[in-house]
Structure formats: C-alpha cells, structure tokens
C-alpha cells in the first residue's frame, strides 16, 4: 500500500497502488483479472483525486448527516406479519432444494 497511514486530519493525499486495488477487489468480492488491475487503479485514482477537494471544507463542529428528512422512526406492534413463503424466497435461486439455497461445500 502506498498510503502508509491516514493523517489525523483530512484525507490521505497519496494514491492507491495495485496491491490496494487487489485488496479492495477481494473485500468487494469481485474477481479482477491481472490486466484489469492497472486500468482500475487509474480510474479509482481519478475519482479519489476528484473527491479529495472535500478536504478543504471546514467541518469542525458539523454533525455528519444521518437522515436527510427529519423523521421519527415508526414503531409497530411486535407481531409476526410475514413468513411461510419459503417457496417464494427460493423461487429465483440459481440452485435450491427443499426450500434451501444450494452452495458449494463450506464446512468439511
């Protein structure tokens, strides 16, 4: 990684390297073939350079937005309102059996 640490204040100013691209692709669960690493690195750096201008905004004492429209969370009675639709849930699965999703063996 070319970015060794994130400064306490502000955005990291260094760009991502190919190892970082590989790590992010793994976290995102997207297989990136070797020939796509460099183009992706350049695209990500273009976007990160663009968003870096946010660093110049003084946000001291500003609350991060959590809700764009002030609303109170609605509560409903704690009761079962849905369910017993296993057939519907698995209807679009690429592989299913007896109401279960089928995947490659995970536990030996």
């Amino acid at each position: 990684m070319s970015v060794r640490h994130v400064p306490e204040q502000g955005l990291p100013t260094l760009s991502v390297d190919s190892d970082t691209v590989r790590r992010i692709a793994h976290l995102a669960r997207i297989r990136l073939e070797d020939e796509r690493i460099e183009p992706m690195r350049e695209e990500l750096n273009t976007i990160l350079a663009f968003v870096e201008q946010l660093d110049e905004v003084d946000t001291n004492g500003v609350e991060p937005m959590t809700s764009v429209v002030a609303t109170k969370m609605r509560l409903r009675t704690d009761a079962v309102t849905d369910g017993n639709i296993a057939d519907d849930v698995v209807a679009n699965a690429p592989a299913s059996e007896d109401g279960f999703f089928m995947v490659p063996r995970v536990v030996e």
């Binding site: 976290l27 995102a28 997207i30 201008q53 679009n92 995947v103």
Partner: protein, 492 residues
C-alpha cells in the same frame, strides 16, 4: 381518429372517461408504436402485451360502468428498477439474469390500483448508475431527438433513459423513473419531457432495486407538467414497508396548476454559473428568469456556498451505500451464478461476470471509502459536507425564498459513444446542477424551456422546499406556458 399515442396522459384519461375510445384501443395503439420503434430506440427491454391487453380489458369493464381510478386505462412504461410481480426485473443488469420477483413494488401497485396499464419494462443504466443510458446490459437507448446538423444517434441521458425516450417518442403515456443524483431530471431535459424528483420520503422505495438508499427517490417522466402532477399523485403514498416514507397526505397536485406566481420569491443561485458553461445555457436561464419576473414573481440573487462540494460528496456517499446494497448479489439467492472451486470463488466469479464496468468501479470506490482506516476521512467528512449543503438550502428557504431556478444540465444531449474515452469524472459532471437536490432530500423538477443552437431540447430546473411539490407544479406550468411544447421529428 387522431393517433391516440399523441394524446397527453390527461387527454387520454379524459377521452377514456368520455368513452371517445377504449382502453384496449389506446393500449393497442401504444403496443403498435413500440413494435415499430423499439428496434431503433431500444427504450423497452421487455414488452408485456398480453398483460397490457388484459389490464386494458379490465379497465374497459370499469369505465363502461362509470367506475375506475384516477389512471383507469392509461398505458404506462415502467423503469426496470421497479419490482413487477412475475415480470422481468433486472435493473438492466446481467447479475439479475432471469429474475422475476414474487412481489410488486409499492409505487407500481399504487399505479395499478388506480387503473393504469403496464406496457413493459424500460431500459436504464445498470443499477441506475450512469448519465447516458450506455451502461445498460441491454445496450444503449437512443434519443428520439436528433441535431439539426447531423443524423448521429444521441443519448437520452440517464439513468432513466428508457423512460425519457419512450415518453418523448410516444411509446407510453407516461413512465416511472428514479432519481439518485439527477436520473429523472437530466434525461427529461435531454428529451424535452417533464421530470419530477419528489422530496425524499414522498414515494415509497419498497420494491425499488436499491442503489443509494439515502438518495433514491421515484418520480414520473411525462410529456407535460399536468401529466406529471397526475402521475405523482398516484405514485406517492405513506407505506409502512418503507420506514423513510413520510406520513403526510398526498395533495391533488393538478389543483396547483394555473395558480399565480405573483408574490412568490424565486432564488437564483450564483454558484450555478459555472466556468465554461455554454452561452446558450446561460441565455436559457436568463429567459426563464424574465418569464418569472413577467409573471409577477420576485427574483432574488442567492448564494448556496457549498454547491461545488455536492458532486464530490455524492461520489463518496452514493458508492458507499451502493457497495453495501449490492453486496446481496452473490450468485446464491437470485440471478446469475458463475461456478467456482469454493463459495468465495463463486461469489467473486459471479460478481465479476454479472456486474458491468461502471457498477464494479462504484462498488470498488464504495468499498475503499468504507474500509478500515478510511471511513472517517472519506465517508464521515462527506456526510458532514452533506449537512452543510442542506443547511445552505434551509437558510435560503428561511429567508423567504419559495423555489430556486437553475439550468437542469450544463449541455444538451451528446452523441452515443462520444464519452467513451472520457474520464469517469467528465460523465459525472452531467449531474452538477441536479445532485445537490438529492444530497439535501429536496423536490426538483425539470421543465423543457427551449432548444439549443442545434435544435436539441434544454431544460430548466426548479428546486422546492421539502414536501412543497405543489409550488413546483405551479411555477413549472408558468414556464411551460411561456416556453411551449417541444417534440422530436419522427424518423424512427
């Protein structure tokens, strides 16, 4: 008899009630128009003629008895982002291959409850990520408009490009669309149609494939302002299945049309005057300001100082939310699956093969800005800037401004493939005037207001106070009255 497809939604509704024609005749006219045009425009991904005729026949039964809802027998196109029970719903993505939901989105259910007829599912940018409708797994949509100086294919804008193209080319009476950063208003501006992005929370997001949940909002694209008012009334509702849906009565927006703007204060933000903006966009804006003044509105110069930070903040917040929302496409529960030697490889192969390039890029950015050590620097800072953007608007509205007038886009429609070698940022700049509205959760409308020097439509954008869409319809109808209507010359 006149070509039924050229009627506005309001004219079609009234003609059906007056029994001048039947819903089946109207539906067949649209199905014929789609059949003739879709090879060239690619606006529809899937047509549903059998379902359309069955719905139309049911509407005719009701209309014969003098019954029926607000949209009884009116044929609509539905953006592929809305879940439609038993019908192709893929967000124009390969990863949702063959997905047919077992449920109906709240917005489309509201439309069917009011008697509307579904013609089919409309093309769009994949997962609503794009500004030209070129990221669709089903190929680009073509704009029915052409430049006076060339026959080259133009984009209809995006992400709701299929919706805008279909409405402009008379392939539906109106269309559903969604807007996360400008995806209703920019295509409306590029096609000479009206597009409304309601206040966040006005339309339920339930059953709408999620892109960026704090920004996504459904709205209509139509051929005039009245049609948008009619459609939004049916689309909007309080929905217990979406906790962000607001519990406010839905007004009769049509009643707001024709009201006077005398005494209203219209803000003109200086930050929307960008360097390098074409002169014709500035002229269009000045014309709109003059119309407002002539109609008796007070024009006030205002400042929204954090405007320039809206787009960079958006390109942190939206990809971050998208990377989380799109984690569900794993090749296990629905859609496409690419095999792998273990579950990890299955996930990675499926997502590499199922997602297009733009979607992969945004998932990567979102994953990066949310990853350990970067969250505060990127995501938290972007959300703080978002608070400042919203406060800019709140201050202006508290000072008595009723609505804000700006251009919708920095240019007219561009050519298909014209941006192929451009950097992602150049494409993102299409949304420079629209994205602030999503960041602040406000209602916005694009109204056709003139033509470029090449004869292409240009739009003006109105930004309103939260849940005061009625003001936008009032002002929008004044602009429409002054500007007139714009329709493409049929070549398809």
């Amino acid at each position: 008899m006149t070509d039924l497809t050229t009627l506005t939604l309001a004219q079609a509704r009234d003609g059906l009630r007056d029994k001048n024609f039947t819903a089946l005749e109207l539906t067949n006219a649209y199905l014929g128009a789609i059949e003739a045009a879709n090879d060239k425009l690619n606006a529809y991904i899937v047509e549903t003629p059998d379902q359309a005729r069955a719905m139309a026949a049911a509407s005719d039964d009701k209309l014969a008895k003098g019954e029926g809802g607000a949209l009884e027998g009116v044929p609509l196109g539905i953006k592929d982002l809305f879940a439609t029970k038993g019908v192709h719903t893929q967000a124009a993505s390969g990863i949702l291959h063959d997905f047919k939901p077992r449920y109906e989105s709240t917005v489309t259910q509201n439309l069917w409850d009011d008697g509307a007829v579904m013609l089919g599912k409309l093309n769009m940018d994949e997962f609503a990520m794009g500004s030209s409708n070129e990221t669709s797994a089903y190929g680009p949509v073509i704009n029915p408009w052409r430049s006076t100086s060339s026959n080259a294919d133009l984009v209809p804008g995006g992400s709701s490009g299929g919706s805008a193209s279909a409405v402009a080319a008379w392939l539906c009476a109106g269309a559903t669309a969604t807007d996360t950063g400008g995806s209703i208003r920019q295509p409306a501006a590029f096609t000479g149609t009206v597009g409304v992005k309601p206040t966040y929370g006005r339309c339920s997001r339930w059953g709408v494939v999620a892109f960026a949940s704090s920004l996504d909002q459904a709205g209509p694209i139509t051929r005039d302002v009245r049609d948008a008012a009619i459609m939004l009334k049916s689309m909007a509702s309080m929905d217990t299945k979406d906790t962000t849906s607001v519990d406010l009565p839905v007004p009769d927006y049509e009643q707001a049309l024709g009201d006077s703007v005398a005494g209203k204060t219209i803000g003109i933000p200086k930050e929307y005057r960008m360097d390098g903006m074409p002169a014709e966009i500035e002229e269009l804006w000045q014309t709109g300001i003059a119309w407002m003044r002539d109609a008796g509105a007070e024009i006030r110069d205002i400042s929204l100082p954090h405007t320039k930070y809206a787009l960079p903040a958006y390109y942190i917040v939206a990809p971050a939310e998208a990377s989380s929302n799109l984690a569900r496409y794993d090749g296990v529960r629905y859609g496409k699956r690419e095999p792998g030697e273990d579950i990890q490889a299955l996930y990675e192969n499926t997502r590499a093969s199922g997602f297009g390039q733009e979607v992969q890029r945004r998932i990567m950015i979102g994953t990066y800005v949310l990853s350990a050590g970067y969250y505060d620097a990127y995501y938290k800072q972007a959300q703080r800037v978002r608070t400042l953007i919203k406060q800019d608007f709140e201050k202006i509205y508290a000072d008595g401004v009723d609505a804000i007038l700006t251009p919708t886009t920095p240019s007219a429609a561009f050519g298909v493939n014209e941006m192929a070698t451009a950097s992602p940022i150049e494409m993102y700049l299409n949304d420079i005037f629209t994205v602030t509205v999503n960041m602040a959760g406000l209602p916005g409308m694009s109204v056709p207001a003139g033509l470029s020097k090449d004869g292409l439509p240009l739009g003006l954008q109105l930004i309103g106070r939260p849940f005061e869409e009625e003001t936008l319809f009032t002002i929008g109808s004044v602009i429409e009255k002054q500007a007139g209507h714009f329709a493409p010359t049929k070549w398809w």
